[in-house]
Symmetry: C2
Subunit: 397 residues, 2 copies
Amino acid sequence: MSEYITVSYLTEAKDLYKKAEAIAVGMTVGSWTDLPLARQEVLAPYLGTVGSVTITEEKDGLQQGIIAIQYPTGNITPDIPALLTTVFGKLSMDGKIKLVDIDFPPSLLARFPGPKFGIAGIRELVDVHDRPLLMSIFKSCLGLPLGELETQFAAQIEGGVDLVKDDEIFFVDDKAPLAERLAAYNRIIETAGRPVLYAANLTGPVHQLVDKAKYAIERGANCLLLNVLPYGFDILHRLAEDPDISVPLMAHPAMAGAFYAADEYGIASSLLLGKLMRLAGADLILYPSPYGSVALDRTEALAIAEHARSSNGVHKSAFPVPSAGIHPGLVAKLYEDFGTDVIVNAGGGVHGHPNGTADGARAFRAAIDAVVQGQTLAEGAKSSQPLALALEKWGSA
Amino acid sequence: MSEYITVSYLTEAKDLYKKAEAIAVGMTVGSWTDLPLARQEVLAPYLGTVGSVTITEEKDGLQQGIIAIQYPTGNITPDIPALLTTVFGKLSMDGKIKLVDIDFPPSLLARFPGPKFGIAGIRELVDVHDRPLLMSIFKSCLGLPLGELETQFAAQIEGGVDLVKDDEIFFVDDKAPLAERLAAYNRIIETAGRPVLYAANLTGPVHQLVDKAKYAIERGANCLLLNVLPYGFDILHRLAEDPDISVPLMAHPAMAGAFYAADEYGIASSLLLGKLMRLAGADLILYPSPYGSVALDRTEALAIAEHARSSNGVHKSAFPVPSAGIHPGLVAKLYEDFGTDVIVNAGGGVHGHPNGTADGARAFRAAIDAVVQGQTLAEGAKSSQPLALALEKWGSA
């Protein structure tokens, strides 16, 4: 029996149903009604069909709404380039249209790797099971000598973060090469006496990234950061499916706004950063929080977390990491919105603390401990001077 | 002496100059005025600067316009993932902003491969020097047995096309595997007794595409088609720079609309499909023509051709292939807009000819011959029954 991928588009047309039919045929077998019967028999298994048409508005003679097209799974190889080319290749250039969702049958899901560690696996690695994790970002990396980066790293660890990530623009690292950073940071982690994940930025030619990842792991990397969209989803998939890449993969959303930011074009953030990132194998998914200046629409931000964490029957869950603009005063709100299985991630909100980086991290840890115990942040601040100072500086939401 | 990449963005802000300054600092060293002098000295070579600010409109307290930021070339490794992450990673998610252009110093250009064959090289390969080339697209590929594809291929060759390309959604080719297609089509080309390029769709895991390309070439491929954006620009770069990949690379624009279609977000088509495709090594660049139903803005379509063909002091030129909606009646217009160094590319405009595919190609060849000789299409149709029939069906522009 044929199985289908159901693809939803937000679009407009004089007659939305006719447009849906044209897409179903045009994006699969090309033409249909004018084909001889014998050809129709050959091509029937490849023909797309209209799943549904929902008109949400009609004005100026145009119907706007969501159309769902069913593409036979047999039309694609199980990889994201084939998927995106098939369902949004030509179509992306054909007037107002936004790719908003894709539903996969379990048989196709199973041919994608999904997260290797997932939320449970990452909790094992950092040995933290009952609270949101805390991650911090280097204030900056580019151009800094290794010694200064070590100082930054040590301060973050001292304050109690569970994960640290490289700046995503850290490509030129001649002053602090990857192998040297790994050695230096691992010494600091060892001294701290507790597990900390350090996400090293994976860079270089795309066809060598699998080897580069293995090189990093041999030199002590315990997590890898990837700019998934600039490199293309498929390399994430190939890293995730490789059994020798034995560390979690952290997906950075660099360039994602170029896809999702327009209302009427592109690809919805929940699909791009939620479903597709998880499918391709991200253990941790960074994306704009709904709070900061680089903010994502709240519904979309929650949908990304939903796609990352909810059961899809096949894959492990991925950790949502709603980022940007996070300070300790937002932790209660963040916990309310995202629950326990979330990573609190901050850069300026850690380093900008009045007492510096280590107390910045302590303020976050105190805020997390407070909300998990059902306290308000103000209550938590009574037993944490760092949190009290942070709330004084940033307020609370 | 430092060199800079100059990156232009279309954006808006209360104070556009302040926004430009914030981007210049925020996207490079992170912070500046609050840094101690010693740190400023270390980081100065990495600091971005404001090149220019051009306000085009002020309304509702917002300035709209173009800001140009200068990024030191030393901030990036010479690859497109590093470039795009650095200049549009976080920034793409930061409100209304569109990446409209990037100017590269020659020293950086020289570190990208550019086209291996270019226009002159492709003209040598097909031995056509004085007219636009003619390319045709299979009516459809997916699901068809090899025999039917051979029939389609032979008809296109018989009619006189210079290049034929696979359908870009041709991923599942179990009924006509790559090696078998190559063998069959090459027999047809040999029989025809003149050189024809066949662009075979390059598919598979991204980290294996270099090997897959070599496999195809060993089995007779003389041109390769790549869905560059779904795979990511970097694999095009790696294919282009590999000396053993001795055939032209044809870039398909699948998914490009997700980047360029919105006015206020994403990446301009002239940069995406013109400059970056050429930089990364496309010999032939497909993109929406300004004529058809899947149409691109005329200025942008001409700018892509300009970026593909004009001297940049370093790279060979690339063939622009403005596609979609092309029929023989558009050839005069196309020649007027794009000149001789263009590829006339059609699918429906070839196969939809009243007499079928071969005459469809003949009609195009007659139209091309006519305009190159300074004749009107109507004049050309006097000595070409296929062209006369085509003009009758489609009219002329």
